[in-house]
């Protein structure tokens, strides 16, 4: 019988320590910015990972493994809550995605009219206000740098769906951030 892969006693703690900041950051965004909820989610996910750590064969894949557990733990929580008020109406078909892409008009980006600090705060706030499904796609790819394929696996949706969610997430972000751009510009000129 094949023996399970031996795991050094501190390997799990080291793995968590290495990725703790990004796991916490992602938990915070997944729950929409609530610090207590984020810590709760993080702890739940990390303890689940601890239980299954001996199943992680490739230590090099530890980061995406941890994130997959975090994301799925969050999905389970959201599904368990079941009466989530903000359901994504529907993912786009290829045709609808193409139409949305074609309708994108060049516009200023947040970085062009907000100063660094203001920009960071407002982007994080706008991110937290996004639809949770769109937010998860943007967080995993734009912030944590996972590929679209990895994000699709974590969120258990097709790659094409992730593509349209990323696009819609960015589009909604830009809309939220540029709605009051003229007022912000005027304020900065004063």
């Amino acid at each position: 019988m094949r023996r399970p892969h031996p795991v050094p006693p501190r390997a799990f703690e080291e793995l968590i320590s290495e990725h703790l900041d990004s796991l916490y950051r992602t938990a915070l965004r997944l729950v929409g910015g609530g610090v207590a909820d984020a810590e709760d989610l993080l702890q739940d996910a990390v303890l689940r990972a601890f239980e299954h750590f001996s199943q992680l064969r490739n230590q090099g894949a530890g980061r995406s493994w941890l994130f997959a557990i975090l994301v799925r733990t969050n999905l389970n929580r959201v599904r368990a809550a079941s009466r989530r008020p903000e359901q994504l109406t529907a993912d786009l078909t290829d045709r609808a995605f193409e139409e949305a892409l074609a309708a994108w008009t060049p516009n200023i980006t947040p970085g062009e009219f907000l100063d660094r600090t203001e920009s960071a705060e407002r982007i994080v706030k706008a991110l937290d206000d996004l639809n949770p499904d769109l937010r998860a796609a943007v967080v995993l790819t734009d912030i944590e740098g996972f590929s679209q394929r990895e994000a699709a696996q974590m969120l258990e949706v097709p790659e094409g769906t992730i593509a349209s969610r990323i696009f819609r997430g960015r589009r909604d972000l830009r809309q939220a951030l540029t709605e009051d751009a003229p007022a912000l510009k005027a304020r900065r000129r004063k």
């Binding site: 320590s17 810590e39 303890l47 001996s54 060049p106 705060e121 991110l127 990323i166 696009f167």
Partner: protein, 263 residues
């Protein structure tokens, strides 16, 4: 801007990663090369993605979150024990621990040779396992570490130096409500923690400290006492290496005065 733009943008969607050069991709690339609107679209996507990444990637986990999380892991480790890592080496380690406890237990926990109480070993191991990335002082300078510790402890101490192990830093830890010193050493690729805990073994102590070896949760622990203080080395290294460090530490005690000044 038309349906061709939408098709080209979907075909060349920037987050898709490497793609095969299909006729559709070639056609989309040809379209984008001649379409200012599509070029702006891709540039806009890139800038927006950069803005989001720059803004939201600054958050770090607060220390108290880190602390609570590692304590939860330690509790889970204690509760699940070998079930979490059911491999032969650790089963062997567990058996060794049981044998060692049988051999050394009576000696270790009797009044003749007061040492770490049974409850203390898991605490030391837990603190050792949490060592990485914790707040404290990161330094390889023994004087600097000693100064840092002496400003935070109720007993004075100097920091032992070993040729075999490199000094990494130190922190102050609570061990059963006693502020204690934890000094970290690198031993090859492993981390070894040296604890000095006040308030133990103030009873009769042998003139020559005797070392007590224990294994807990896969970690080796070598401890000894002197009036008022408990010393322990903890690490995932062989007990012979820990014993060597412990002996050198005791040897250095002649010049390294550890004066106890109260519980």
């Amino acid at each position: 801007m038309n349906s061709e733009c939408g098709r080209a943008r979907r075909e060349l969607w920037p987050d898709n990663g490497p793609r095969s050069v299909t006729p559709q991709v070639v056609e989309a690339q040809r379209h984008v090369a001649g379409c200012a609107s599509c070029a702006e679209f891709f540039e806009g996507m890139r800038r927006l993605s950069d803005d989001v990444r720059r803004s939201a990637s600054r958050t770090v986990a607060p220390l108290e979150v880190r602390d609570r999380l590692f304590k939860a892991i330690s509790r889970a480790r204690t509760q699940t024990g070998a079930r979490v890592r059911p491999n032969a080496a650790l089963v062997g380690a567990g058996a060794s621990a049981a044998i060692l406890l049988l051999i050394f237990g009576i000696k270790a926990f009797s009044g003749d040779n007061p040492s770490a109480p049974r409850s203390l070993i898991p605490v030391l191991v837990e603190e050792h396992a949490r060592a990485r990335g914790e707040a404290g002082i990161r330094s390889s300078n023994p004087s600097e570490i000693a100064r840092w510790l002496n400003g935070r402890l109720s007993f004075a101490m100097q920091v032992p130096v070993f040729a075999e192990a490199s000094l990494r830093g130190a922190r102050v830890v609570e061990v059963e409500k006693r502020r204690s010193a934890l000094i970290e050493y690198g031993l090859g690729n492993d981390l070894v923690s040296y604890f000095v805990v006040a308030g133990y073994a103030r009873a009769r102590t042998p003139s020559a400290p005797s070392l007590v070896e224990t294994v807990w949760d896969g970690y080796h622990v070598v401890s000894w006492t002197e009036p008022g203080l408990l010393h322990a080395f903890v690490g995932n290294v062989s007990e012979s290496k820990l014993r060597l460090l412990a002996r050198k530490c005791i040897e250095q005690a002649g010049t390294m005065k550890v004066a106890f000044s109260g519980p």
